[in-house]
C-alpha cells in the first residue's frame, strides 16, 4: 500500500532516477517536471505536518499473501519513520525552500553551465533529505545521509577543473565524516543495544559514550559546516553554481546537519557540562573565525560561503545550551539562516549572470539597474546582520536570551562563562554587519560603472522566489515573538517562557509608519526642489579613478599586528584540516615513492623479499 511517507521519500528519488533518461537538452521540461514533483512533495509535507506523533513504517506489510512476506517484515522493522514535532517541522522547512530554489533554477543564460543532470540530483537530494529527517533507525538514517553527501558532490561538478577540485575536496571531507559516524554508530550499538533514535537515551558519563557522541557530532558538524570541519563550504560556494550553493550548503545541509545535532544533544544523548563547554567553544569559534575570514574576501560568493559557516556557530551555541529556549533559538536561527542565505546565494547568482564577475572590486552601483534584486538582497543582508525587526535579529535575540538564562542557572563552568559566549556572539554579529556592508555597497551602492549601463532587471521566474524569501524574512521577523516561535518551534523544543520580552510586530509596523512619515517629511521639505549634481571630491574632478573601493575597507583590520600573521597563515591554508591532512598523506607517501623507482631490479627485489617474509611467517 502506498502511504504519504512513501510519496514524500520515494517519489522524488524515483522521479529523479527517471529524469536521468531525459537528455540535458530538454532542460526546461525537466525543470518544470522537477518543480511539479517538488510541489507535490511540499503538499504532502504540509499534510504530514498535521500528523500526530507516531512511528510508521515506510514499507508496510499488507497481509501474509504479499510478495516475499519475510523480506517485507524485515524491511518494515528497519524502515520505521519517526513522525514527531521536530521531524515534521524540519520537513516543512524543506518543503518551503525546495520549490522556490527549483523555480529559480529553471531559467538559464545561454552560455551558462549547470552541473549535468542537475534536476535528477536535485530530486534525489530532496527525497533523501526527507528520508534522513524521518528515519528512526540510525542505519537507514546513515544511508540517506550518505546519499546526500554524494549528491552534494554531483551538484557542484561542472565541466571545469576548479569546480571539480572543490567537488573532490567536498567529497573527501564529507565522506570521511560519514566514515567517522559509522564508528560512532557502532559504539552506540555496543553501549545501548539499539539503533532506533526514539528508544535511545544515553548518558555521557562513560568514556565510550562520550566518544560515540563526539564521533557522531563530527558528522553533524561537517554537514552543517561548523569549525573545524567547515573548510569545504567556502571552496564549494566559491566554485559551484549559485543555485547549487543556495540549495545544499546554504539551506539543506544546515537543516539536516542541525537537525542531527538537535537529535544528538536532546534525544540520543544526555550531555554532561564538559561536552556543553566543548560545543559552546566550538560554536563561538565558528562564529568568529569564519566571519573574520569573510571580512577579507574579494569574491562575494566565497564571502557568502564563510557566512554560511559563521551562522552555524549561533545554532551550535543555541543547541549546546540544552535548554528548551536555547534549542528553539537554534532551530529558529537554522531556518532563518536557510531562508536568507539561500536568498543571498540566489541574488549572487543574478549578479554573476548580469555582470559576469564575482569580484567585489569590479562591481558597483547596480542598485538603480536591479532595484528588486537590491531591495531583497538588502533585506537578506540586514537580516543576517541581525537588524531588528527582521528574522535574523529575532533568532539571535533568542540565542542571547538563552545565554543569559543559561548563565542564571549557574550549573557549571560553561554557564559561569556566559559573558564570554554573549560577548563573542554579539561581536560576531557586528563583524557580520561589517562584511555585509562590504557585500551590499560593493555590488549595489557606490559609483555606477559605465559598463553596466545596459543591465536590465531579471525575469519574473527569478525574482518571484527571491521576493518570497524576503517576505518570509519580514514575516518571521515581525511575528516572531507573538506567533512563529510559539506555534512552530515550541512543540519541537519543549515549552518555555521568554526571559524578557519585546514586541516584534509593533516594531515592524513602526518601521512602516516611519517610512511613510519619512516620505511625508521629504514632501514637506519640497520634494520638487531637489536636483542632482556631481559629487564634490575636494575640488578634484570626480571619476571612476577616484573610487575608494569597499575591498579596501578592512585593510586596517587585515594589517593589524597579530592579525596579519594569522591571515597570512590562513592564506597559506595552515588552518584547513583538509590541506593539513593532504600534506600529511603526501608526506608519508613520499617514503613509499622511494620504493617505486621504476627500476625492474628494485621491484624484483621486493617481490622476493615478500616471498621470504611470507615463507618465514608460514614456517613460524
Amino acid at each position: 500500500m502506498i502511504n504519504d511517507l512513501n510519496i514524500i521519500v520515494c517519489l522524488p528519488i524515483v522521479a529523479g532516477i527517471i529524469i536521468f533518461l531525459l537528455p540535458d537538452a530538454f532542460r526546461i521540461l525537466k525543470g518544470i517536471l522537477a518543480l511539479a514533483i517538488t510541489l507535490i512533495f511540499s503538499g504532502f509535507a504540509i499534510k504530514i505536518f498535521g500528523y500526530a506523533d507516531a512511528l510508521l513504517p515506510l514499507v508496510q506489510q499488507t497481509g501474509e499473501t504479499g510478495l516475499l512476506p519475510e523480506v517485507t517484515r524485515t524491511l518494515e522493522q528497519y524502515t520505521v519513520m519517526n513522525i514527531n514535532s521536530l521531524t515534521t517541522i524540519i520537513l516543512l522547512f524543506v518543503a518551503v525552500l525546495a520549490p522556490l530554489i527549483c523555480l529559480y533554477s529553471i531559467y538559464k543564460e545561454k552560455n551558462e553551465t549547470f552541473p549535468s543532470q542537475f534536476y535528477s540530483w536535485f530530486l534525489i537530494t530532496l527525497g533523501s533529505s526527507a528520508g534522513t529527517v524521518l528515519a528512526d533507525n540510525l542505519l537507514l538514517f546513515l544511508f540517506f545521509w550518505g546519499v546526500l553527501g554524494y549528491t552534494l558532490y554531483k551538484l557542484i561538478r561542472q565541466h571545469d577543473a576548479q569546480s571539480s577540485d572543490a567537488a573532490k575536496k567536498t567529497l573527501i571531507i564529507v565522506g570521511s565524516s560519514d566514515a567517522i559516524m559509522i564508528i560512532g554508530i557502532g559504539l552506540l550499538w555496543n553501549i545501548a543495544g539499539t539503533l532506533s533514535i526514539s528508544e535511545l537515551s544515553v548518558h555521557t558519563s562513560s568514556g565510550p559514550a562520550i566518544m560515540a557522541f563526539l564521533l557522531l557530532a563530527v558528522g553533524s558538524f561537517t554537514k552543517a559546516g561548523a569549525f573545524p570541519f567547515h573548510t569545504w563550504i567556502p571552496s564549494y560556494t566559491g566554485k559551484a553554481h549559485g543555485v547549487s550553493s543556495a540549495y545544499m550548503p546554504a539551506s539543506f545541509d544546515k537543516l539536516i546537519g542541525i537537525y542531527f545535532l538537535v537529535v544528538l544533544c536532546s534525544r540520543i544523548f544526555v550531555l554532561n557540562q564538559w561536552l556543553t563547554l566543548v560545543l559552546l567553544i566550538l560554536g563561538v569559534a565558528t562564529i568568529i573565525i569564519a566571519v573574520m575570514m569573510a571580512l577579507i574576501q574579494h569574491n562575494y560568493k566565497k564571502l557568502l560561503g564563510y557566512h554560511a559557516v559563521s551562522q552555524v556557530g549561533y545554532m551550535v551555541v543555541g543547541i549546546a545550551l540544552g535548554t528548551p529556549l536555547g534549542i528553539a533559538a537554534g532551530l529558529f536561527h537554522m531556518f532563518n539562516n536557510a531562508v536568507y542565505k539561500s536568498g543571498l546565494f540566489l541574488s549572487a547568482t543574478t549578479i554573476e549572470r548580469k555582470t559576469g564577475t564575482v569580484d567585489l572590486d569590479k562591481t558597483g552601483g547596480l542598485a538603480s539597474k536591479l532595484p528588486l534584486t537590491f531591495i531583497t538582497a538588502l533585506i537578506f543582508a540586514l537580516s543576517i546582520s541581525g537588524i531588528p525587526p527582521l528574522n535574523g535579529f529575532a533568532s539571535k535575540w533568542m540565542i542571547y536570551q538563552g545565554i543569559v538564562d543559561f548563565g542564571q542557572q549557574a550549573t557549571g563552568v560553561a554557564s559561569q562563562l556566559w559573558i564570554v559566549w554573549l560577548a563573542l556572539a554579539v561581536l560576531g554579529s557586528a563583524l557580520t554587519l561589517a562584511s555585509f556592508i562590504k557585500f551590499i555597497s560593493g555590488i549595489f551602492l557606490g559609483r555606477k560603472k559605465e559598463i553596466f549601463d545596459n543591465i536590465k532587471e531579471v525575469s519574473f521566474a527569478q525574482w518571484i522566489p527571491v521576493i518570497l524569501l524576503a517576505v518570509i524574512c519580514l514575516w518571521f521577523g515581525a511575528f516572531s515573538t507573538k506567533y512563529v516561535v510559539k506555534e512552530l518551534f515550541m512543540p519541537a523544543s519543549g515549552s518555555f517562557s521568554f526571559f524578557s520580552i519585546w514586541d516584534s510586530d509593533l516594531l515592524f509596523w513602526l518601521v512602516i509608519a516611519s517610512i511613510i512619515a519619512g516620505i511625508l517629511i521629504y514632501w514637506i521639505g519640497r520634494f520638487k526642489n531637489m536636483r542632482r549634481a556631481e559629487s564634490f571630491v575636494g575640488g578634484e574632478k570626480a571619476g571612476e579613478d577616484k573610487e575608494f573601493p569597499v575591498t579596501g575597507f578592512y585593510l586596517t583590520v587585515k594589517n593589524a599586528p597579530g592579525l596579519r600573521q594569522i591571515y597570512d597563515l590562513a592564506g597559506r591554508k595552515w588552518f584547513d584540516l583538509y590541506d593539513l591532512l593532504k600534506g600529511f598523506v603526501l608526506w608519508t607517501n613520499k617514503g613509499f615513492s622511494y620504493l617505486h623507482t621504476g627500476i625492474l631490479t628494485t621491484y624484483t627485489f621486493w617481490v622476493y623479499a615478500g616471498f621470504v617474509i611470507l615463507l618465514l611467517l608460514l614456517i613460524l
Partner: protein, 310 residues
C-alpha cells in the same frame, strides 16, 4: 495602535526626544564656546538651523549614487534612534503600557542610526564619504564589543535581568551601581563608548570636517541632512539618559527626584562635552587600539572587580 503611534512620534519618542536633544545640542555649543572664550549661540539657534535645513534649503542629490536609498537611509536611521528613545525613556517617565523591549534589543536599535549613516554615505557614491564610512564601520567594530561587555556587566550587577525598569528599580532599592569600584570603572568605560557612539571628538574621524569635509555626511544637504541632524540630536539626548539609567541609580520624575534626575543626565552630558573639548581627533587605528585593547581591559577589570565583590 493610536496610543503606540503617539508614544513613538510625539511623546516620549520623536518629537519630545528631538526637542530636548536640540536643547542639549545648544548646551553643547554653548559650553564649547565658553571653553574657547567665545560668547556662543542663543538658545534657539539650533532650532533655526534645523528648520532652515528642513524647509528652506535645497536638497542636492548625487549624480552617480543610488538616490532612493540615499534618501531612505536617514529615515531608517531616525526610526532606530526613535525606537531606542521610546524604550529608554518610557521606564524613566513611568510609562508602562508602551512597546516593550529589553536591553539587548536596545543595543541593536542603537546600532541602526550608525549603520544607516554608513549605508547612506556609501549610496552617495562619493569616495570621501566612502572613506568616512570605512572609518565609521571600524569604529562600530571597535566599540560594540566594549558596549556589550558593559551591558553584560549591568546584567550581572542587576541579578540577571534584561529589563530596563527592573534594573532601575533594583538600583533604587539597593543603591546605584556606580557606588562600587566596579561600577565606577564600568561607568568610565561606558562614557567613552557613548562618546564614540555619538561620534563626538575625539572619535569623529568618520566626519572629520577638516580632513574629509564631513565624510559620511558630505553629500547630504537640505531635508535629508535635517533628518540626520535630528537623529543626532535624539542620540545626544538618549545616550546620557541611558548611562544615567544603568549606572547612576536610574531616573525618577516625581517630587525632588526630578531635580536629581535632570542633574544626573546633565552631568553625563557635561562630561561628554568636556571630553570633546579637551581632546584632539584620533586616527582610526589609534581609536581601534584604544577600544579593543584599553577599554576592553577596563571593562574586564570592572567585571573581575564585581566578581570579587568590590
Amino acid at each position: 495602535m493610536a496610543e503606540q503611534l503617539f508614544y513613538f512620534f510625539i511623546y516620549p519618542g520623536m518629537l519630545f526626544a528631538g526637542i530636548i536633544g536640540i536643547i542639549f545640542a545648544w548646551a553643547d555649543r554653548k559650553v564649547t564656546a565658553r571653553v574657547q572664550f567665545r560668547q556662543g549661540p542663543p538658545v534657539l539657534q539650533p532650532f533655526y538651523d534645523f528648520i532652515k535645513l528642513l524647509l528652506v534649503k535645497e536638497t542636492i542629490l548625487p549624480k552617480n549614487g543610488s538616490v532612493i536609498f540615499f534618501l531612505l537611509a536617514p529615515v531608517l536611521g531616525l526610526f532606530g534612534a526613535t525606537a531606542a528613545a521610546v524604550i529608554i525613556l518610557m521606564p524613566a517617565l513611568g510609562l508602562t503600557s508602551g512597546f516593550r523591549g529589553d536591553i539587548i534589543v536596545l543595543f541593536y536599535l542603537l546600532a541602526i542610526p550608525t549603520l544607516m549613516f554608513i549605508v547612506g554615505a556609501l549610496a552617495s557614491g562619493n569616495p570621501l564619504s566612502s572613506v568616512g564610512a570605512s572609518r565609521e564601520i571600524k569604529m562600530v567594530l571597535s566599540y560594540e564589543l566594549s558596549f556589550i561587555l558593559i551591558i553584560a556587566g549591568v546584567i550581572l550587577k542587576s541579578e540577571m535581568t534584561l529589563q530596563l525598569n527592573e534594573i532601575m528599580a533594583l538600583q533604587q532599592s539597593q543603591g546605584a551601581f556606580i557606588a562600587s569600584l566596579s561600577g565606577i570603572v564600568m561607568f568610565i568605560a561606558a562614557l567613552v563608548v557613548i562618546q564614540g557612539k555619538a561620534g563626538m571628538v575625539p572619535f569623529d574621524m568618520a566626519e572629520a570636517e577638516t580632513e574629509l569635509a564631513e565624510g559620511i555626511f558630505m553629500e547630504y544637504s537640505g531635508t535629508a541632512y535635517a533628518i540626520i541632524k535630528y537623529t543626532k540630536y535624539i542620540l545626544l539626548f538618549i545616550l546620557p539618559v541611558f548611562i544615567a539609567e544603568i549606572f547612576l541609580g536610574g531616573l525618577h520624575f516625581e517630587g525632588i527626584h526630578i531635580l536629581w534626575s535632570i542633574l544626573k543626565v546633565l552631568l553625563v552630558l557635561v562630561l561628554m562635552i568636556l571630553i570633546r573639548n579637551t581632546n584632539p581627533r584620533l586616527k582610526i587605528g589609534q581609536a581601534m587600539r584604544f577600544y579593543l585593547l584599553w577599554i576592553n581591559l577596563l571593562v574586564i577589570a570592572g567585571l573581575v572587580l564585581h566578581y570579587i565583590g568590590i
